[in-house]
Symmetry: C2
Subunit: 234 residues, 2 copies
Amino acid sequence: MQLRSPSRNFKEQKVVSVTRKDQVYTILRQAIISSQLSPGETIRKELVAAQLGVSRTPVSDAINRLADEGLVEIYPQTGTFVARLWLDKIETAQFVRVALETAAIRRTVERATPEIITGFRQNLERQRKAAEKQDFEQFYELDEALHDLICDAAGLVGLREIASKERSQIDRVRRLLLHYETRMIETLAEHEAIISAIADGDADKAAKTMEAHIAQMGKMLLHLRNKRPELFGS
Amino acid sequence: MQLRSPSRNFKEQKVVSVTRKDQVYTILRQAIISSQLSPGETIRKELVAAQLGVSRTPVSDAINRLADEGLVEIYPQTGTFVARLWLDKIETAQFVRVALETAAIRRTVERATPEIITGFRQNLERQRKAAEKQDFEQFYELDEALHDLICDAAGLVGLREIASKERSQIDRVRRLLLHYETRMIETLAEHEAIISAIADGDADKAAKTMEAHIAQMGKMLLHLRNKRPELFGS
DNA sequence: AGTTGGTGTGTAACATGTTAGATGTTATTG
DNA sequence: CAATAACATCTAACATGTTACACACCAACT
């Protein structure tokens, strides 16, 4: 018997081992965030397991992780549900998002190389095209990608993952809002202002613009609650 | 058969259902953060299960959660280890901590009532006593509690849990540092400066002071790596 | 001696069986 | 008829059995 300790031989945490629970997690998360599964809807582990052709174990593991993330609510011995929208939790998520992304953008301003700026502008160009085509889904994906790019440009290992996780609540709300109001033109203008500020090296302006950009969602949220109260909790 | 949907009848998420996996999680987390389990050490699920008198399932669940939190490293089909210290991850955790806590303190300044300020000062008083007694552990606990109090005072549901989770890496490092260097006097002074700034309603000063306070840890970290390189990864 | 390939072992991942408890329903009682 | 208690049912939680795979070890070959 040999005690194996972590050593250099390990394929250093890069093999993003795609276990079944990871796959199930990704599928369910996507389904929840995209509102394919509605807030409040029941999730039957056994059914999910059958549909995906796996046993209950990886499904349970995936759901536990989603519960940590606040995307599902588990009531012990009773049932599992897609998390409803809780205004106070969304408020906290917004706060965290603003805090992280404004801080990240300040670092990004310090570190942005011409190549990185070019990457931003390419994304903006594609956003413009998507906006012209009225392709909401595509525009939304590019929006998320841009925020990820800015996070990455801050040059901190794992920051994107953390930010993305904390953003999941908000991403879900935004998807729901997509069907009611789009603001694509305004959003695009805001993105352009942010990138310009970064290109100009103006950290304060970039942060301020980002903050205002993120804050936009608040008003629309109340609008959604009036139209679809069943999606909300408490 | 009746489809149960989440309703008001539920003991609304307050019964912090203490399942076994939660208990195991708490025990292991505490053991890791307190360095009772050293970075790099092997964790044998079966052994842990036997020691705690439970089956492998709740242990696995707890460890999965700890892996999400970055406190353990799971190598599929190979083994599970207490996470080693990775400078780049700690750097990211520091960044996140600064971002969240400076943002939180700005809100706290706006909302701090006399009662809340009194709570802060009571904590400081106990810190002073602990410092006089050279009671490192007690002082450290009060330190964490103060940061939690400030988070709570920001008035955002769940913020403390998020901040606490993102802080776990750093808490672990601080515990290890405790044995080498204490800085209790200086730390106490920094805490007092932060609270004074809050009491004065000076948000900028409070945030600046907090940032400087958190940044202190950086230097000591390199010191630790020289003394205990085996705790570090990469 | 260093490299390569086969083999054994131990572990996480996965599957499935069992238990406990929360809730809805029905029966019972005043 | 309302309140309450017994019951049925469904689900997550927990236990345990099985499989697949990563790594260590060793032998054979260059």
